[in-house]
Amino acid sequence: MVTSWRGWVVAFLLALDQPALAQIVITIDEAPEGAEPIAIVPFQWAGTGVQPPEDIASIIAADLGNSGRFAPITRDSLPARPTDPSAIRWNDWKRLGMNNLVIGWLRQLTAPGPGARYEASFRLFDVLERVQLAGERSEIRRADLRKAAHQVSDRIYEALTGERGAFDTRIAYVTETSDLSGARTYALYVADSDGFNAAEILHSRDPIMSPAWSHDGRRLAYVSFEGGRPGIYVQDLRRGSRRRVSAYPGINGAPAWSPDDRRLALTLSKDGNPEIYVMHLASGVLRRITDNRAIDTEPAWSPDGGTLVFTSDRGGRPQLYRVPLAGGVPRRITLVGTSNARAAFAPDGKSLALVHEIRGRYRVGWMNLASGEIRVLSRGRLDESPSVSPNGRMVLYATTMGGVATLAAVSVDGRVRQRIAVEQGRVREPAWSPFRH
């Protein structure tokens, strides 16, 4: 037997030269990140008057654009305005790079007026596959037209990203106005998540603070200084009735609902200095959580109901601490920045929004609980009261723009920031409702 070393050489060369026999495999490892282009054609209108009562396509475009994940094409750049699937020229849209196309129509069914009824339909197409991804037709009252548009935005968002949209949700906020004599009036409002359709819930000559939505979306807890002292009230939004749940001497503040809405975490100073307590709403029984000479306040429940994160200055400056509800020593979780406060959990419990101070500038940050890393999302000098959207993608907060206290929203990757226009006075303390049930 003669071992041919030349045989080994050839075998080696054979091994190197695979492609001759296998198929082509191409690896793409470069990825510019960007918003997905989408074309939303103005909905066809059939009814009295030249303009429809609401421009549904522009509401959808604003929703999708503000989420930071889509870049709606401007109306002037639309190559065509089809309203029927048969009229779509697929190559025109493909050439523009529009991979997604939304068309629809709005039709009037009864006479115009506040009780008018309309019918609306939309279709979402994938231009490259030439396939409809979502569509629906439904009957709507005049007052629900904007809500219907937000629901369409939610459907489109879900079809394209696989995540639930949070456009058909509400926000609560407090406004302060002063008249000529300098007397101030405070009011608590609930509006659509884009600031429209605001409805007043409460008004008072004394401050209102810290509105908090229950997880079933039916009640608001808030702090009111009526009667000259702070008390925590729970108001049923549908019935309008309310009851005072906490009126201990001293501070009653920062209510936070447990995930099952049966308990409220709150701040009371009745035992000397501000501490965190948990109150069982039905019985009013209190359980004390913190016992420390420092100020402990602003409790936030983790979505699994097992942990409370709160703000405390026991270490000198305000920082965030977490304590298990089963009992234990509070541990500090924020390790960067001059101070940190006002935690608001994301729905998946893995991150939270907070107010992050760096040398006198207070900005909204997004903290990853596992790594401790904080990403700064907002740009102002005094941004406060962050509240997370129910799909965990946007953060609503109070800021000052041009010297005016106003609301703004930013996507959690920091890509898109928008101002939420609210008509009435100085606005603060926003709270984002849960998904509509």
């Binding site: 492609p19 470069e30 510019p32 993608r393």
Partner: protein, 404 residues
């Protein structure tokens, strides 16, 4: 009664005279009134009148009351005047205050206006600041992106060069191999030649052995004949012992000769077998060498085919690269998707590059990411065609694996 004017005038004159007389009388009477004595010493009698005390007292009290009243009235009037003066002062003060308040209000309004316009101006400034900062940040971001792109280009170029260097090294190695193989073939040829000569030697030896054997054969036959002859002669010359002796000696000599012949034969035979064996050996080696030569030739042919295919695969690599560029330039990783996602797509195309099917073989787990990948591939359709139509591949697998 006076009726005419003249009578009237008369009457009037008469009345005047009468009145004059009376007045004169009065005057006279007055002059007859006693006058006071002017000079000392003349005493006048005190004319005392008796008065009623009560009346006097009443008069006094009345007068005092009147006086008091007058005083009171005076005081009241004085007070009233004071009060009026006070009121007038108050009214004036109120007026002044009202005027001052109005002035203050106007001031306030002016101040508020000034403050508001100042706030608006500041708001404008702040907004412009914001815009400027946003623009600066945008520029920075773009600059950073450009830098990234440049860095990646440099990286890519470096990788290209490395790849080319590797290809060149490959080539060099193949060259060396080829040279070695040429050497091998040369050596093999030389060895073959040696085997040839060995074989020829062997043949020669065999031929020599053969001729020797034939000679031996002939000699053996001659010896046979000689023996037979000797037998005959012996028989014929049984009587003649001398001849017999001679014949015996002859036969002995012949036998000895025959023995020698046989020995020589054996030796020759042995040499022949040895030669045969050597020939066998040589032949076997020659066969082996021939077989190895065949193998080496076959391998050389393989290598030639490999080299041809390598050149072909370069063309394939270029084709794959063009497709990669077409698809990568069409791909945007959707914003908001987590990092570390990876997706495999199998694509089938027609010879004109038209993508007829794009299926996800291995999903990334994120719907938006998967869709973006399929859209990138479909968006790049029709895919670039290869320069050599023989390089066309119907099935292509894409792996989207952003390094982030």
């Amino acid at each position: 009664m006076p009726r005419t004017l003249w009578e009237k005038v008369l009457a009037a004159l008469l009345s005047v005279v009468v009145h004059g007389v009376f007045i004169g009388l009065l005057a006279v009477s007055f002059e007859f009134a006693p006058s006071t004595p002017s000079g000392a010493g003349i005493e006048q009698p005190i004319e005392a009148v008796v008065l009623d005390e009560k009346k006097v007292a009443k008069e006094l009290t009345r007068i005092r009351r009147l006086e008091a009243e007058r005083e009171r009235k005076k005081r009241q009037e004085a007070k009233a005047a004071e009060r009026r003066a006070e009121l007038a002062r108050k009214v004036r003060k109120l007026e002044e205050r009202r005027v001052a308040a109005m002035k203050a209000q106007i001031e306030q309004k002016r101040k508020r206006e000034a403050a508001r316009s100042k706030r608006l101006r500041e708001a404008e400034r702040a907004r412009l600041e914001e815009l400027r900062r946003a623009r600066a940040e945008e520029q920075q971001r773009l600059a950073a992106l450009d830098r990234e792109k440049a860095k990646r280009q440099v990286q890519r170029r470096a990788e290209e060069e490395a790849r080319q260097a590797a290809a060149r090294a490959e080539q060099a190695r193949l060259e060396a191999e080829r040279k070695k193989l040429v050497e091998e073939t040369e050596k093999a040829r030389a060895e073959r030649r040696a085997a040839e000569t060995a074989r020829r030697e062997v043949e020669q030896l065999a031929a020599v052995a053969k001729t020797e054997r034939e000679a031996e054969e002939r000699k053996r036959r001659a010896a046979e004949e000689a023996r037979v002859k000797a037998e005959r002669e012996r028989r014929a010359a049984e009587a003649g012992k001398k001849e017999a002796e001679k014949a015996r000696r002859e036969t002995e000599r012949l036998a000895a000769l025959a023995l020698e012949q046989r020995k020589r034969e054996e030796a020759a035979a042995r040499k022949a077998t040895q030669a045969r064996a050597k020939a066998e050996e040589a032949r076997r080696r020659a066969e082996e060498e021939a077989a190895m030569r065949r193998q080496v030739a076959a391998e050389a042919a393989e290598l030639k085919k490999r080299r041809a295919l390598l050149l072909l695969s370069k063309g394939r690599k270029e084709y794959a690269e063009r497709i990669r560029v077409a698809v990568a330039s069409r791909w945007i990783r959707p914003a908001g998707t987590p990092k570390g996602l990876r997706c495999k797509v199998r694509v089938q195309q027609t010879t004109s590059g038209e993508v007829v099917s794009a299926h996800i073989v291995k999903t990334s787990g994120n719907r938006a990411f998967d869709r973006s990948v399929v859209q990138a591939v479909r968006g790049a359709s029709p895919l670039p065609r290869p320069k050599d139509p023989a390089l066309f591949e119907r099935d292509i697998v894409f792996i989207f694996d952003p390094r982030d």
